[in-house]
C-alpha cells in the first residue's frame, strides 16, 4: 500500500510542477530590487557588511548592533568646549595642581571604564528576518580536536531526550513531563564562518550572561533563545520554558569564569 501512496504522490507532485510556468514564461516576471540582490550576494559569498549597511539605511526596522572587545566607552567633550575648559583651568589653577587634577581624572575615568568593561567576542548585524554573528579575532578556540562539551545545568524535571554533535558542534534537547523543552547547542566560534540566527520572530536585544555579552531573541512565537560567547565557545540556549529560567541556566554555566 505504501507503494500506491508513493506513486500517487510522485504523479501528483509531477503534475503540479508541470503546471507551473516555464523558465521562459517567468523570465521577465519581476525585476528584483537592489536590496534583494545585495542580500543574496551576501548570502552566496558569505560577506555581510555591504548588505547589512545598505539595508539598515533603508529600513529602520533593520539595524546593526555591534559589540566589540573590549566595549569602548566614549567620554566626549566637543573640541571647542574642551579648549574653553582647559584655558579656564590654566588661568585659575596653579600648574602642579592642574597636573594632579589631570592624573586623578585619568585614574577615575580608567576605573569607570574597567567597571563597565564587557567581554564581547562577536559582532551582530541584525536584518529583518535574521541576525548575522561574526566572531572577533579575540575568540580563541578554533581547534575542533580541543572541543569539550559543556552541558547546561538544566532544572529538575528535565531529561535529555536527544543529543548530537560533530566537528566543533554539540546539541542537546531536554524535555520535562509537561512537554516544555530546552534546546542547547555549543559551537566553536570559528572566526571565518560566523553564525546566522533566525530572528524573524522576535526583537534581538543585547543582554549580559555573567561578564559576557549576548543576544536575546525568539526562535518562534513560543520559544525564547539566548546567544552568547565566552571566547572559547559560542552557546545558544533556548526553549519553551520562560526566559528567566533560560537566562539562569546560562548564568550558572558562566559562573566562576
Amino acid at each position: 500500500m505504501d507503494n500506491i501512496l508513493r506513486q500517487i504522490c510522485i504523479d501528483a507532485c509531477q503534475r503540479e510542477l508541470d503546471a507551473l510556468p516555464s523558465e521562459e514564461e517567468l523570465h521577465d516576471i519581476h525585476i528584483f530590487s537592489s536590496r534583494f540582490e545585495k542580500k543574496m550576494n551576501s548570502l552566496i559569498h558569505s560577506g555581510i557588511s555591504d548588505s547589512a549597511d545598505s539595508i539598515s539605511k533603508k529600513d529602520p526596522a533593520e539595524e546593526t548592533a555591534s559589540f566589540r572587545h573590549p566595549t569602548i566607552l566614549h567620554f566626549g567633550l566637543r573640541r571647542r568646549n574642551l579648549q574653553t575648559v582647559q584655558n579656564s583651568l590654566k588661568n585659575h589653577i596653579p600648574r602642579r595642581r592642574l597636573i594632579l587634577i589631570a592624573i586623578l581624572t585619568a585614574v577615575l575615568l580608567a576605573l569607570c571604564a574597567c567597571s563597565l568593561m564587557v567581554n564581547s567576542y562577536f559582532t551582530a548585524q541584525k536584518h529583518k528576518t535574521h541576525s548575522e554573528i561574526i566572531f572577533s579575532k579575540d575568540a580563541v578556540s578554533e581547534d575542533i580536536d580541543s572541543f569539550t562539551v559543556i552541558e547546561p545545568p538544566v532544572p529538575e524535571g528535565y531529561e535529555k531526550v536527544d543529543e548530537s554533535g560533530m566537528g566543533g558542534y554539540y546539541r542537546a534537547l531536554y524535555e520535562n513531563k509537561n512537554g516544555l523543552y530546552i534546546d542547547y547547542s555549543q559551537h566553536l566560534p570559528i572566526t571565518s564562518k560566523g553564525l546566522t540566527i533566525n530572528t524573524e520572530f522576535g526583537i534581538t536585544e543585547k543582554i549580559m550572561v555573567g561578564h559576557y555579552s549576548g543576544l536575546h531573541f525568539q526562535g518562534s512565537y513560543t520559544e525564547e533563545n539566548i546567544f552568547w560567547s565566552d571566547g572559547y565557545y559560542a552557546y545558544i540556549l533556548g526553549g519553551t520554558c520562560d526566559y528567566e529560567t533560560i537566562l539562569k541556566i546560562a548564568e550558572d554555566m558562566m559562573r566562576g569564569k
Binding site: Q14, L20, M40, H187, T196
Partner: protein
C-alpha cells in the same frame, strides 16, 4: 527548534552550485511567494529566507536542474510564504500554529499511517484527493515520497521538529482518507 545554523557555503564549488540554483529558480520561487503573499516586497523577503534555508540544507540537493530540486525549492518558499502570511494576518489557525510555530506537541509514533483505505479508490480519484490537501500536509507527503526524505530531513527542510513532521505526515494521510470518504 533553534533558528540557527552555521554558514555552509564554504567552498567555491558550493557557491557556484548555489548560484546556479539561485539563477534557475529565483523567478519561480518569486512566482510562488507572490501568489501567496500578493506583495512584491514580502515575496522577495520570502525568497531570500527560502534561499537561506536552502543553504542550510544544501547537502540534500543533488542535481540542480531536476524535478526533485525544483520541488524542494518550491516547497521551501511556499512553506515560508505561508508562515509569513499567517504572521501578517495575525490570526493564527490553531492547527497550523500547533505545528508550524511550536515544537511543544505530544510525542508522535514513527510514521506508519493506515493507508489501506486508499486501495478502494480509482487512481485518478486518489490523485485528485491529494491535490485537495492543504499545502503544508501535501508538501510533507511530497518531500517524503517525491524527494525521498526521511522524517529528520523533512523536519530540517520545513524548520519544524521531527515530532511535528511525523505528526504532520500522519495527519496528511488521515485527511486524505477523509477526503476520499466524502466522495
Amino acid at each position: 527548534m533553534l533558528g540557527i545554523y552555521l554558514r555552509l557555503l564554504d567552498t567555491e564549488e558550493e557557491r557556484t552550485r548555489f548560484r546556479q540554483l539561485y539563477d534557475k529558480y529565483k523567478n519561480l520561487m518569486f512566482f510562488v511567494a507572490k501568489g501567496i503573499l500578493k506583495d512584491d516586497y514580502l515575496a522577495e523577503d520570502a525568497v531570500h529566507e527560502a534561499f537561506i534555508r536552502i543553504a542550510k540544507n544544501f547537502s540534500k540537493i543533488g542535481e540542480i536542474s531536476c524535478p526533485r530540486t525544483k520541488n524542494f525549492s518550491v516547497i521551501i518558499v511556499r512553506n515560508i510564504s505561508l508562515m509569513m502570511l499567517e504572521k501578517e494576518k495575525n490570526n493564527a489557525h490553531e492547527e497550523y500554529n500547533d505545528e508550524l510555530y511550536s515544537g511543544n506537541i505530544g510525542a508522535a509514533p514513527d510514521f506508519d499511517p493506515d493507508i489501506s483505505v486508499l486501495k478502494a479508490y480509482e487512481y485518478e480519484t486518489l490523485l485528485n484527493a491529494i491535490t485537495q490537501l492543504p499545502d503544508i500536509y501535501r508538501d510533507t507527503l511530497y518531500l517524503r515520497y517525491f524527494n525521498d526524505f526521511n522524517m529528520k530531513e523533512i523536519a530540517s527542510v520545513l524548520d519544524i521538529s521531527e515530532e511535528a513532521a511525523k505528526k504532520r505526515s500522519q495527519r496528511a494521510v488521515k485527511m486524505l482518507a477523509d477526503i476520499l470518504r466524502r466522495k
